[in-house]
């Protein structure tokens, strides 16, 4: 919590003026488009996407890797974008929920989420979907128990879990049996 210490004198901070503010130039390919950008070292990939690139499909639910709403695919792997410093992802290929549909056709996981009603408020949904796409690619989930376990990094407070599992099973079947 952004509180200040209850005890005076603790947590002495370096003064703001002394902090160097060097920006870094990085190159990212986001949803297929390569971009060169100036980023501050403290800018997370999540804040870069949401605030600088206006790609607000990727959600901030906790900002601490505790909910999965910020899940994106970096070089094909699902990660929590809230804990990744953008500067450290120089050269990476990033896919967000906005980049999954092709020419207006939904990704099979997106379509399955609608069909199975795998969401309610929709706020965790982009993270769930990116996570599910990552899961299918990883190929470690072979049954419902394994889907549940390997989707547990995405919290859904609306409680759509049974439908999320059903949607992923549907997408898996479409992809040809188990993903492995």
């Amino acid at each position: 919590m952004p509180v200040n210490p209850a005890t005076p004198g603790v947590a002495a901070a370096p003064s703001a003026g002394s902090s160097p503010v060097a920006h870094h130039t990085i190159t990212l390919t986001v949803n297929g488009t390569q971009r060169r950008m100036e980023v501050a070292p403290w800018t997370t990939l999540l804040d870069l996407l949401r605030e600088q690139m206006e790609l607000t499909g990727t959600k901030k639910g906790c900002d601490h890797g505790q909910c999965g709403a910020c899940t994106v695919l970096v070089n094909g792997q699902r990660i929590n974008s809230c804990l990744a410093l953008a500067v450290s992802k120089d050269g990476a290929e990033v896919v967000t929920v906005e980049g999954l549909a092709m020419d207006g056709t939904l990704h099979p996981v997106q379509a399955a989420f609608i069909e199975q009603d795998a969401f309610q408020c929709g706020y965790c949904t982009p993270g769930q979907i990116c996570s599910a796409v990552g899961l299918l690619k990883e190929g470690h989930a072979r049954n419902a128990d394994e889907i549940r376990e390997l989707m547990s990094g995405n919290i859904c407070r609306c409680g759509a879990y049974p439908n999320i599992v059903a949607a992923i099973e549907q997408a898996m079947q479409q992809a040809g049996g188990s993903a492995r």
Partner: protein
């Protein structure tokens, strides 16, 4: 979060120099714990030295009959590596019991060793904490301490080490390879993490300007009789209340070699040589397992909310040893306890 500068050196030596030169500097790799703590203002580095892309540290290699795991191998890459799955299944299962796939994809082997406690007070700068601000006191001792330690505590700190992977590495007697300004050295896993004592602000015996380069696994992987049993407050994506890594080498019904490490109960993965000695050469019976558990927990102390952990650990040890002896390790996705 406070502002900081950032650099990405190209070699280990350069990285070590960068951190050595600046007392406010810290290494960062996966960032899954450090960025988290920086956003809470618990960690306030002035400079981050990104070692995440250092060459050569992301490989798993054969070494002296065992394996050498580069410090930058991600938790996922390690857990799903075929050699780990086959020869060190305990390690694979422990890793997969922790965090989430997203975190495991980013978190590194070296970083896992260095993750900090989940103590509520440590994380909350609105409260005192000896680990965060030495000398301010430990409110957990008489406070909300459901997740806190029962072994090896001090009057200054009752925090636990939260890693699952490290519990397995402790049982496997891994070695940590580090590089510092004075060169390279190896640290036995048991000596890597420390107890809080008078200095709870120091988690490990790694110097601030030393960097972990690899973790070495000895040849013996205990691939037949092993288990990682983790008990927690929800079925996944939660830290251990108590976890037990148990590995055995059996000859018929007799235990030839036994190793036990506990997670969630102490400032470091907890091992007890006397208990392991008691098991060695004895029968694989629940009675003998209970004796070992009693020995381990002899010195355990509860602080109120967490007092249940003593009994829970006792039962978990017996159960884990039963699983290991029977060759029925705890599965990760099937939540029925084997």
């Amino acid at each position: 979060m406070i502002r900081f500068s950032y650099s990405r050196p190209g070699a280990v030596g350069e990285a070590v120099q960068a951190v050595q030169a600046d007392a406010g500097a810290k290494f960062i790799a996966g960032g899954t714990n450090l960025v988290d703590l920086m956003k809470y203002d618990v960690e306030r580095p002035r400079r981050l030295v990104d070692v995440g892309a250092l060459p050569g540290l992301d490989r798993i290699e054969e070494a002296d009959g065992g394996l050498r795991i580069g410090a930058l191998v991600t938790n996922s890459a390690l857990a799903y590596d075929a050699r780990i799955e086959q020869r060190y299944p305990l390690l694979a299962r422990a890793i997969l019991s922790g965090a989430s796939p997203q975190l495991r994809n980013a978190a590194t082997t070296g970083g896992n060793l260095l993750q900090r406690t989940r103590c509520y007070y440590f994380y909350d700068t609105g409260t005192p904490c000896n680990k965060r601000e030495p000398g301010t006191g430990c409110p957990a001792i008489n406070g909300v301490n459901r997740i806190h330690a029962i072994l090896g505590t001090s009057e200054h700190c009752i925090a636990t080490h939260p890693s699952d992977m490290c519990v397995a590495l402790a049982a496997l007697e891994a070695t940590v390879e580090v590089t510092g300004p004075q060169g390279e050295r190896s640290i036995a896993f048991a000596d890597f993490h420390r107890l809080p004592g008078e200095h709870p602000e120091i988690d490990t015996t790694l110097a601030p300007d030393e960097i972990i380069t690899a973790v070495r696994l000895p040849p013996q992987g205990f691939a037949t009789h092993h288990t990682y049993l983790k008990l927690r407050d929800r079925q996944s994506y939660a830290f251990a209340l108590v976890s037990v890594a148990a590995v055995l080498e059996m000859e018929g019904d007799t235990i030839r070699e036994a190793r036990l490490a506990l997670g969630g109960v102490a400032h470091k993965p907890w091992r007890d040589p006397a208990a392991e000695a008691l098991l060695r050469g004895g029968p694989a019976t629940r009675e003998r397992f209970a004796e070992a558990a009693a020995l381990i927990l002899q010195a355990a102390r509860g602080y109120g909310d967490n007092s249940f952990k003593i009994e829970l650990a006792r039962r978990a040890i017996v159960r884990a040893l039963s699983q290991a002896a029977a060759g029925t390790p705890q599965p990760v996705a099937d939540k029925r306890i084997a």
